[in-house]
């Protein structure tokens, strides 16, 4: 997603190249933050923090890693830190899997429901499960890329992803059974 030449120029001290590079990645950085934090304002803050960190740390990026996993590592770390500050952590097993809100089918369009339900369900996942899902679906990362980004073993990535999907599926299925999506 970012030209290697641009990265090299930025690393060698070309400030314009570095700014251009930041502009290219800002949406990706923001998107991850948005879905991990599930809040626009927090996401804007976290994304800016991540961009500043990338700006100052660009020299420490090594080409043996993929650039996109390097930046996602930075933004997910910031988000997980924020997440820990904001919310008490819960284990996936302790989740209250029932949504208490009662919804009326006539209220909203079906697709809007799905998005809101999914975001709400994602919000119930523990931080790392959530990060894995976000990288898999919003950044279209492979298992390996997720493992690099989160500094997790490959098997852990798979198990987080599988459990998260199962969890999400259960949550959303409960919606359906509750008559939300008939």
């Amino acid at each position: 997603m970012v030209e290697p030449d641009l990265i090299r120029a930025a690393q060698s001290g070309d400030r314009d190249a570095l700014i251009t590079l930041l502009r290219e990645i800002e949406t990706h950085v923001y998107r991850t933050a948005y879905y991990i934090l599930n809040n626009e304002q927090d996401a804007l803050d976290a994304a800016q923090e991540a961009l500043i960190r990338i700006y100052t740390k660009i020299g420490s990026y090594e080409e043996k890693a993929q650039f996109k996993t390097w930046i996602q590592r930075i933004v997910t770390n910031i988000c997980i830190d924020k997440f820990r500050r904001n919310k008490p952590t819960v284990s996936i097993d302790e989740h209250d899997m029932v949504f208490h809100e009662k919804r009326n089918v006539e209220d909203e369009v079906m697709s809007a429901y799905a998005v809101r339900d999914i975001r709400e369900a994602i919000d119930k996942l523990p931080e790392h499960h959530r990060a894995v899902v976000v990288l898999r679906y919003l950044q279209d990362f492979s298992y390996n890329e997720i493992a690099d980004s989160l500094d997790l073993p490959l098997n852990t990535v798979k198990s987080y992803l599988f459990r998260a999907r199962q969890q999400l599926q259960t949550l959303l299925h409960d919606y359906q059974k509750g008559g939300v999506r008939g």
């Binding site: 502009r23 800002e26 923001y30 998107r31 800016q48 961009l51 898999r136 199962q166």
Partner: protein
Amino acid sequence: MNCPEVMELMQRQLDDDLAEGEMEVLTNHTRQCPDCAAMFERLKLLSAELTSLPKVTPSYSLVDAILPQLEQLDTHGQQEAAAAPAAGAPEKTELPARRTKRERRWPSMRVMSGVIAAGIVAGLFLVTYQQGGGSAGNSDGSTAANMSSAEVSVTDQTANRTYSLKSYTRDEAAAAPEVSTEAADQLELQHDLDAMKQPFEGDKEEEAITNSGIAGKADDSAGAADRGQSTENLGGGGGVISEPPAQEPEAGAFGGPIDGGGADSAEGTGEADNNKTITGEPSFVPEKGFTANEISATSPDGSYIAKVEGYTIRIYAASDQSVVHESARKNGRLMNLVWSEDSAQLSYEVHLEQGSIEKYIIDMATGEDLKDVQ
């Protein structure tokens, strides 16, 4: 194959991670097991929905939003990188971006600058001591401003040395920029010393212009201190620096121009001549809550005293303290009062909010107060 094992196949199928054979196993199982088939359908639906989550974009340009912070980071870095150039290389016109580059390439500069700074700070005490002696020797004059006057007589060479040494000391003061008040305090403590040796003026405004992102926003005093700081360092032996009003008692700092060798570009030329009799009273009359703005200059022949009073300059006759000239009100800080050799003209500068400097000359014979457009 049991259901939990198939579950893993389903999951991997969602990520396109199945080999041919595995796909077949999965299909065969779901054909016979309605529970797994239903689960697989739900997972596929979920995966599709996750894939189609809105690709949100930020509501404003994040990079634009952080540009001022990035500029500040640059000046932080440049402050560290600046110590070495200040030792002699005249690089003051370099832009922040380039300085940052250098910082990134040679991080050891920080270490070097520390070592150099330490050495030179030690040297500062020697010079200060000498200066103190010189000052005492001359201070048999009478006015409250005599300290400053005495200092003005310090030779070019000494002024030069003092200048570069001072810049290092100030570097120290700003070494903990996050504690802005502390830095400001240190600057203040040092100000009497500075006041006698070296005026700060001019250059900061120029710097502010080059820092387009933060131009005019010296609201963060730590950042501002840094900026002023690095400019000063890079200024090397030339030039004079102004500090943001928020942290610098101007009147104190302004001892009268000792030009250590070439006024800087923003300064115009030539008006800062070492042998002028210029007095700077380190008074601390607070104006607008943070500046002390009284500056005065006695003409070489001793017949006039020009004083900055608020936004006007009044020139008094030394004999009877009567006002012989009062300038029009100006829209900026009035600084750098300098008499011509023959006491016929007084030049001064108006430092405007936007960072520009206007130079004026008052002709004592005609009473004209004209903008100097040389």
